[in-house]
Amino acid sequence: MVSALVRIVSFAALAYLALPLVVLVGTSLTTTSFLAFPPQGLTLAWYGKMLGDPSYVSAFLISTLLAVAATIVAVLLAVPAAIAIARYRFTGRRLLSETLMSPLILPHVVLGAALLQYGSTIGLVRSFPALLVGHVVIIMPFVLRAVLPQLSDEQRSLEDASADLGAKPLTTFFLVTLPQIRSGLVSGAIFAFIASWINVELSIFNTTAELTTIPVKLFNYVQYTIDPTIAAVSGLTIIVAAVVIVLLDLTIGLDVLSERRR
Amino acid sequence: MSPILAIDGLSKHFGGQAALTAIDLAVEQGEFIALLGPSGCGKTTLLRCIAGFLTPEAGTIRLAGEDVTRLPPYRRPLNTVFQNYALFPHMSVAENVAYGPRRQGVARDEAARRAAEALELVGLAGFGERLPAQLSGGQQQRVALARAIVNRPQLLLLDEPLSALDLKLRKKVQSELKQIQHRLGIAFLFVTHDQDEAMSMADRIVLMNRGRIEQIGRGQDIYARPATRFAADFVGDANLLAVDRRGDDSVSLLGGAITLPAADAPQGTLTGVLRPEDILVTTEPVAERLALPAVVSEIVHVGSHASVGLTVGDTTLTARLAPSALAGMSAGQAVFANIRLVDISLVPGDA
């Protein structure tokens, strides 16, 4: 009885999760000039229109460039910090790790406003670097959270062995530490990339008509006009997300919910 | 008196794989039984069938005369000490122990009183407020025991309860367990892969292999008269000798050096079992024994005794000697292996 109820709730919830995705991809294929679901006829014309619009293409490029740059900077900053936090005991260690993790729970609107206000005092506004620093702050926790658990104590003995065999610290890092944390680094970087790629709340304070990311462009557009182009842009981001996730599943495995039965 | 546990024709499969085949077993009240066997022999599967976590495909399990084969675990009047104790991490020691009585509908105060009593019995009075994670391995083991006996079950199942303890502690807990069992008069069914543990604790040993029972009996009886080749090999050390049949009523071993009457022996191929301590190694033949000429191939000292490798014809035997009996013996020396024919048992199976 209870089990049947759980099943009903679950199927309803899964349908609820799938519905908007299906509808968006569906409407993007309609031949009508308004949003129709189920789509009437099938066409990729709206995707063509989107790709023909230079403002969409440039927003896509800016989003991608921003996400790539932010991810690289975040990884370069997060990995040394993670090593320090995992390998050393020092005054302020807890404070450091909690500060670095805190953007996860901070309202992004507040942070975006703060960066705008602060940036305007030092001349760092509405520019690519202004967007970049904000994105690095909010995505660093993803890298840190993924890498830290992999810097385990067992692994530490490998590093000691490497040092014992005469390797300098940097050699040890590249030959021993890095291969051990690679899977965490990859998944952390992917989550970080995505967090940057989909961000609106932070970016919106520092974008302009020319310098805009795809989510911000969509956000501004959706509030005034709705046509299947939007659905096509949305559809494309859904398809990209699905592909990334299937790739993630195949490489690092997303089956996080299987029971650990012996 | 009827047995507290009676198992008839129990079989269990996993997929197409037979895990238990035609198990028959009776446990008397107050008995201490060890289920002994190598890993994968089915002893834990049998325990889980009895506890109710697995349902067998065939056969019955009776507890105090009542058929419980299809009852869920929570309706069976027995309790279990789990391998890694399975203490509830979010409850204090006292709450863990009071859990059983509480589920039986015992009032909170009474359950707490019984829990305190059980904890005192296992020597953990005053530890009630702690969390399991704050206890040592040995203490956790006692909490698991207290939790399992607090309901005074008539049968207690123990799934390798000592395997997580170090050797010294294990010896100590073994004798304590035995005392507690004696005091409570509860039947214990104790799964282990450690033959010394089984030998020193159990009234009877149920020896299992490949999902079947090989032999049931007192430890010393299994050792002295193994019923199968597996029993001979698994319990204690044994020299396993190839056997040639000579007609219907006699067999020869060691390439004809020994002839034994075999009218009572089982049918089919046979193996001769000779314990290492039953071989006397001397430089001169010993009277009233069969003296086989042998050459010492190696001597290994193992503390309280020495293990001596002997070449007899084309067979290698192992003998166990007291260090004092080794005087002047060295590898390559010609000696006599003195044996008594009554010490050789014939069991079914290939050597």
Partner: protein
């Protein structure tokens, strides 16, 4: 334990400097701005204005009500779904598919997800068509611009967080504990109540706190699904910075929101704190 070793300085200098420059300093600027006049004089006037204006109280009430309801609905749907995925689904490919379905929304922008609901919840959207088709309502229901519409959108966006948090906790419960509970005479319902639920509670609370934080501070979803009819607190902040340009007052609003959410989260954390060793 004393001081900071040299390697730590080398490793942490850049990340720490970056966070000071682009995280702590901006937050400090906001805090200072909220306590000063545009001319730079110290004042509590902005906070007094927030406290004195009943409009702000209304917006706060709406924001936290939506946040609390979102959290509640997410828990009520998410726990059974997590249970289903961890305990009931035996066929691995189906579970994989379900997990992917859970994660895909996390990887798509709030805009896209909210836009999907704008389409679905419109006057002639699929939801209204369906409800009319089923005979449950006669005329199209109004979703956009209602709290119900925002709730549907927020629950949709935040449900995966709770399912993943609870699912992880459930998957970690040692099956031996359930066996021990059954062995000691607990029925399946009793085992759930006394063992499994308490052990999954930290995961549930972590998920709920995350959902609540994100729901209260959400901007995009309410902005799109409110149709301008409902204002939540993050919209007030955005207005101050993007159209009113009153950074001092906006700072006070930001700090108010931050303090209120962190306080509520701290209370929730205290209430659910597991016993410490």
């Amino acid at each position: 334990m004393s001081g900071v070793p040299r390697p730590v300085l080398l490793l942490c200098a850049l990340p720490a400097a970056f966070f000071v420059a682009f995280f702590l300093a901006p937050m400090a600027v906001v805090l200072i701005a909220s306590l000063t006049t545009p001319a730079g004089q110290p004042t509590f006037a902005h906070y007094v204005r927030i406290l004195a204006d009943t409009y702000h109280w209304d917006v706060l009430w709406v924001t936290f009500r939506i946040g609390a309801l979102t959290t509640l609905v997410c828990v009520l749907i998410g726990y059974p779904l997590a249970w289903y995925l961890v305990r009931i689904v035996k066929w691995r490919p189906w579970r994989r598919f379900c997990v992917i379905l859970l994660v895909v929304p996390l990887f798509t922008s709030n805009i896209v997800r909210s836009f999907g609901w704008m389409v679905l919840l419109g006057r002639n959207g699929l939801v209204n068509d369906g409800l009319i088709g089923l005979g449950l309502i006669e005329r199209p229901m109004r979703f956009l611009g209602t709290e119900l519409g925002i709730l549907i959108g927020l629950v949709y966006i935040l449900l995966p967080f709770i399912v993943l948090a609870v699912g992880n906790a459930l998957a970690k419960v040692d099956p031996a504990l359930e066996h021990a509970s059954a062995d000691l005479g607990a029925t399946p319902a009793g085992t759930f109540r006394t063992i499994i639920f308490p052990l999954s509670l930290p995961g549930l609370m972590a998920g709920a706190v995350m959902v609540f934080m994100l729901a209260v501070s959400a901007y995009v979803t309410p902005a799109l699904l409110s149709g301008g009819r409902i204002t939540v607190f993050s919209m007030l902040i955005f207005q101050q910075y993007s159209s009113v340009f009153d950074f001092n007052y906006g700072g006070a609003l930001s700090i108010t929101m931050l303090v209120l959410t962190l306080a509520l989260v701290a209370i929730a954390g205290r209430l659910s704190e597991p016993r410490r060793a």
